[in-house]
């Protein structure tokens, strides 16, 4: 009690330059929050209402064989959704679908292979701009541009990964961040091709036969198709030899190499494979918005996607889906909190790392090292 009181007053005090004496309200808010939280924690610890356990049960269920029934019900509900929803909600859910694809793609890189990529949005941008340029300059239709966009994204993943993957974890993160920023700068300044800050307008929507996908309902079903395709493909590869190789690299790279895995090639594959889905999401995004500009591809997009993956649980596909849906829909449900969204994203990243590093659904999680390990030279660099 004494510690929390001091902590609350301390937070109030350091907030004074920014909030004035309102900083003291902050201290009060922290105290009240703690008082509300303590009983909840007590109850959940006593096992009557074990939230943490419940969530793990849900996560385990989603990974288990029984999920078929659940998936069928969800599929029916998703297909029937346009019957009850208006265009506004269809639009939001379609957007959420794009983020689901992005989060699953990043999950392959960060969650499975353990390579922190802070410039993931660059691949999304490459996909979107590839389609935008092919469509407006060369009149190439969506279905031909889609594989091209995915391929170019994957190739840019290889191009970045080839030099960068020799670096270890945190340096790799910084190099990918630099790559993301350079792509953003190029989009912003290469006016003759990318249109600079104004972006590229008048992108053609997807067309099959005589059907133009320009209504929210059409785009919604197209999104469902792409999400399903992504989930199935990524799920299959996760449970293959390649997926297991990625996990083993994440857990212990030296051991993985000793077991005969070509770690460099596998990491490169993870980079390219993750980028592929970002490319898909990018092409679809460009055809949905029918307009692209550098504003959609900032560093903060990368961070939001990362937050989705971490919130759901590193390495878990249902987790990535849930994380993406939560982070897109919550600001829509609570309209007032929209300006607090990024504040909450920051807090979520810290709190999850400190209290629940395995995320909502990730049951397996990272093993904790022994408490004295940090004193010695880390074995895993």
């Amino acid at each position: 009690m004494k510690t929390i009181l001091i902590a609350a007053l301390w937070f109030g005090f350091i907030a004074i330059p920014f909030m004035g004496l309102k900083g003291l309200y902050l201290a009060l808010a922290i105290l009240i929050g703690w008082m509300l939280w303590m009983p909840i924690r007590r109850i959940s610890e006593s096992g009557i209402f074990n939230l943490s356990h419940r969530i793990q049960v849900i996560g385990g269920f989603l990974e288990s064989k029984d999920r078929r029934v659940y998936i069928t019900v969800m599929a029916v509900l998703l297909i029937a959704f346009p019957l009850v929803a208006n265009n506004y909600w269809l639009d939001i859910v379609t957007l959420a679908g794009i983020y689901v694809i992005l989060a699953i793609g990043l999950n392959v890189v960060v969650g499975l292979a353990g390579l922190l990529n802070l410039g993931f949005v660059a691949f999304y941008a490459v996909g979107a701009y590839t389609y935008a340029i092919l469509s407006t300059y060369l009149n190439i239709p969506f279905w031909s541009a889609l594989p091209a966009g995915m391929a170019i994204s994957a190739i840019s993943g290889v191009l970045l990964g080839f030099p960068a993957l020799r670096l270890r974890g945190d340096y790799l993160a910084i190099v990918t961040l630099g790559f993301g920023e350079i792509v953003h700068l190029i989009l912003n300044n290469w006016d003759s091709v990318t249109g600079g800050p104004n972006g590229i307008p008048n992108i053609a929507p997807p067309v099959i036969g005589s059907l133009r996908f320009d209504q929210p309902v059409h785009l919604y079903y197209l999104m469902l198709f792409f999400v399903m395709f992504t989930v199935v493909a990524v799920y299959r590869i996760n449970n293959s030899r390649i997926g297991r190789a990625w996990v083993s690299i994440r857990e212990d790279e030296i051991a993985a190499e000793c077991m005969g895995i070509n770690t460099f090639r596998m990491k490169l594959l993870a980079f390219a494979f993750g980028a592929l889905w970002a490319g898909l999401a990018g092409v679809f995004f460009a055809s949905k918005m029918r307009f692209v500009s550098p504003e959609s591809f900032t560093f903060f997009e990368s961070i939001i996607i990362l937050c989705m993956v971490i919130l759901g649980g590193l390495g878990s596909i249902p987790g990535s889906i849930a994380g993406a849906i939560i982070l897109v829909l919550l600001p829509e449900v609570f309209r007032g909190i929209e300006s607090y969204r990024m504040l909450a994203v920051g807090a979520v990243l810290i709190l999850f790392m400190v209290f629940r590093p395995q995320g909502l659904f990730g049951g397996k999680g990272h093993p904790k090292k022994s408490s004295l390990d940090f004193l010695g030279t880390p074995l895993r660099r």
Partner: protein
């Protein structure tokens, strides 16, 4: 023209060096890239503007411009050190035994949280630094040197000299060097590692705050997102000089300032930030140990 760019570059480089010191000290001890360090610098700039604004409102600055800048600097360094201290306790200390990616992700969280905290409490528009310092100066050959530039370089050199004395001559400095070399051994000989880490964060943050105050005076404008780009550039400077090495951070800062200033004027000012990022990528790929860093065996 060339001389002018060199002088501008040196001013910028002195500021980068101050911020880079915080990165390099934390990395030397914790092997953690403190991603939120740029935000610490931004908060320093904001607090100085708030303090100067207050002093101007009560009519103090008109008679004592120099003293009020000193007050702003001290207040800002004090509060920003508190932020650095708190940040370590909240976001990094619980993660000391976690896998390497966890503290990096929580550092990104701190960075975003602080940015948005400042935006929500202070507004998203540019803040103007009140014109306390006159923009007078003198000419050397055809280059213009303002007194402000002299002030920035002088204060930076003074602070770096103090840091050098602190690290090499005091007991705590010795403990810091020992901790950076080998944490387990240091704790066995009775050094309190937690205290050393806290002190490292406090000193690094205070230096970043000083840099923030001076940049706010130099450009006259601050915004809640200035910390991000400045942080990346200072990190580049730290890596360029050899991360973990204190003289390396100073050298790296000056080189980066000069490169940026010359590239911006002779090649392209639109891509001026891309040079810093490009330089960072090239150094990391070719010589990850930097100019003055010791070569470490890179394995997994």
């Amino acid at each position: 023209m060339l001389l002018q760019q060199i002088i501008n570059g040196l001013t910028l480089g002195a500021v980068y060096a101050l911020i880079a010191l915080g990165y390099t000290m934390v990395y030397g001890i914790l092997e953690l890239i403190n991603f939120a360090h740029g935000e610490i610098y931004m908060i320093g700039a904001y607090i100085s503007i708030i303090v100067i604004g207050y002093l101007t409102a009560i009519g103090f600055t008109i008679d004592n411009p120099f003293i009020s800048i000193l007050i702003a600097m001290v207040v800002s360094m004090f509060f920003v050190s508190s932020y650095g201290f708190t940040m370590e306790k909240v976001a990094y200390k619980p993660l000391r035994n976690a896998p390497r990616l966890s503290p990096l992700i929580s550092a990104i969280g701190v960075s975003i949280f602080l940015q948005n905290f400042v935006m929500l409490t202070q507004g998203a528009t540019d803040k103007v630094f009140p014109g306390v310092f006159s923009i007078e100066g003198f000419n050397i050959f055809n280059a213009r040197v303002t007194y402000l530039q002299v002030f920035i370089i002088a204060v930076s050199v003074l602070l770096m000299f103090c840091l050098h004395l602190f690290v090499t001559r005091t007991r705590i400095g010795k403990a810091m060097r020992a901790t950076a070399l080998d944490k387990r051994m240091a704790s066995l000989v009775g050094i309190n590692i937690d205290t050393v880490i806290s002190i490292t964060f406090i000193i690094g943050s205070a230096l970043a705050a000083a840099a923030g105050v001076m940049v706010a005076m130099y450009y006259g404008l601050v915004n809640y997102f200035i910390g991000y780009v400045a942080g990346i550039k200072a990190f580049t400077a730290a890596v360029l000089g050899g991360i973990g090495s204190i003289p390396g951070a100073m050298l790296g800062g000056v080189i980066l300032g000069l490169v940026e200033s010359l590239c911006a004027s002779y090649i392209s000012s639109e891509y001026k930030d891309a040079f810093a990022f490009g330089l960072l990528i090239i150094i990391l790929l070719l010589r990850p140990a930097g100019l003055l860093g010791r070569q470490v065996v890179e394995k997994a």
